[in-house]
């Protein structure tokens, strides 16, 4: 079967994070928190997980005095997510036939 089921996207929060980063060049921590409705700690650990897989990268900037962490998907992350998507689609197609 084409595509790869990626363990990194097994968790729903990580799947959502990656979905957002596929269509947004950058997304910051607080916006993630709002849209995903998760706690700081939970979000941070999932982001850390994706980051150690090499799927996302971040840079820290300051807006006024507030620190802001912007995340973006790496090329490897986008490829991996696409492979995961292919896997899901093939799974659905095979189920139909």
């Amino acid at each position: 079967m084409e595509g790869i089921f990626d363990k990194a996207f097994e968790n729903i929060v990580r799947l959502r994070i990656m979905s957002i980063l596929m269509v947004n060049e950058q997304y910051d921590f607080n916006s993630f928190k709002e849209i995903l409705e998760v706690t700081d700690g939970n979000l941070a650990s999932h982001l850390k997980n994706l980051e150690s897989s090499g799927y996302i990268s971040f840079d820290k900037t300051f807006v006024g005095r507030k620190p802001m962490t912007n995340y973006s998907a790496t090329a490897a992350g986008k490829t991996a997510f696409q492979a995961h998507l292919d896997f899901l689609e093939n799974l659905i197609n095979e189920n139909k036939t």
Binding site: F5, I12, L15, R16, S19, I20, M22, V23, N24, Y27, S31, E34, I35, L85, L88, E89, L91, I92, N95
Partner: protein
């Protein structure tokens, strides 16, 4: 043997559990992509109200310019009078301000109801995509007025508004672009038929808004 059977059974169970999920997972991915890029709290009702404001404004304009003649006459009007022009400008600005305020207020209400934030990166992108052509068009139309090219103001506003809608449709409900196409078509028609400015303007900003707003309301808001 029993152990083997058990392990193959758990594998089967695992596959089954995963089989149930892919549709949900894809739907989840799609909804996340939409929610993070698109401004979905736009209310159809605000379109209807904006249309009604425009119709009222157009009625007032008709009364000042043409009354009691039918609104087709070309250059039988006294639009060149400064007083009339000023009144028309004030009316147009009032209609615009009221429409924007209504749009904002109703979007806020809708975002509260769907418990989503109003001021997100998606809504900011929507606003800037909408406002850049709109503001440029507005200033350009003011320049036309100040130069006395009144004949081309109605088509210019319609065309710029249409372009703004098509531009902003990428960041909101995609259906908005069809309203944009209609405004563009009206603008072009209006450019070739001078003297019908008030009519095309009424159709574009009044009637189309009411029709489109109510369609959006029935499709998304109920």
């Amino acid at each position: 043997m029993a152990k083997e059977l058990k392990s193959s059974f758990t594998l089967y169970l695992k596959v089954l559990l995963k089989m149930k999920k892919p549709e949900q997972e894809l739907a989840e991915i799609k909804s996340m992509m939409e929610r993070s890029t698109r401004f979905l709290s736009l209310s159809g009702l605000s379109g209807v109200l904006a249309g009604i404001y425009a119709l009222i404004g157009a009625g007032m304009a008709y009364y000042w310019i043409y009354f009691p003649n039918p609104p087709f006459g070309f250059r039988t009007s006294y639009i060149q009078e400064d007083q009339t022009l000023l009144r028309l400008l004030v009316t147009a600005c009032a209609v615009l301000a009221l429409s924007l305020y209504t749009g904002w207020a109703l979007s806020q209400r809708k975002s509260q109801r769907t418990s989503s934030k109003l001021w997100t990166s998606a809504s900011k992108r929507f606003i800037s995509a909408l406002l850049i052509p709109l503001v440029v068009g507005g200033i350009f139309s003011l320049a036309l007025i100040s130069r006395g090219y009144l004949i081309i103001v109605a088509p210019a506003t319609l065309i710029f508004y249409g372009l703004a809608l098509i531009n902003a449709a990428h960041f909101s409900l995609g259906d908005i672009k069809y309203l944009g196409y209609c405004e563009l078509a009206l603008g072009i028609i209006s450019a070739f038929f001078p003297g019908y400015g008030l009519i095309t303007w009424t159709l574009g900003f009044g009637v189309l808004h009411v029709i489109y707003g109510s369609m959006m309301y029935y499709k998304y808001d109920r």
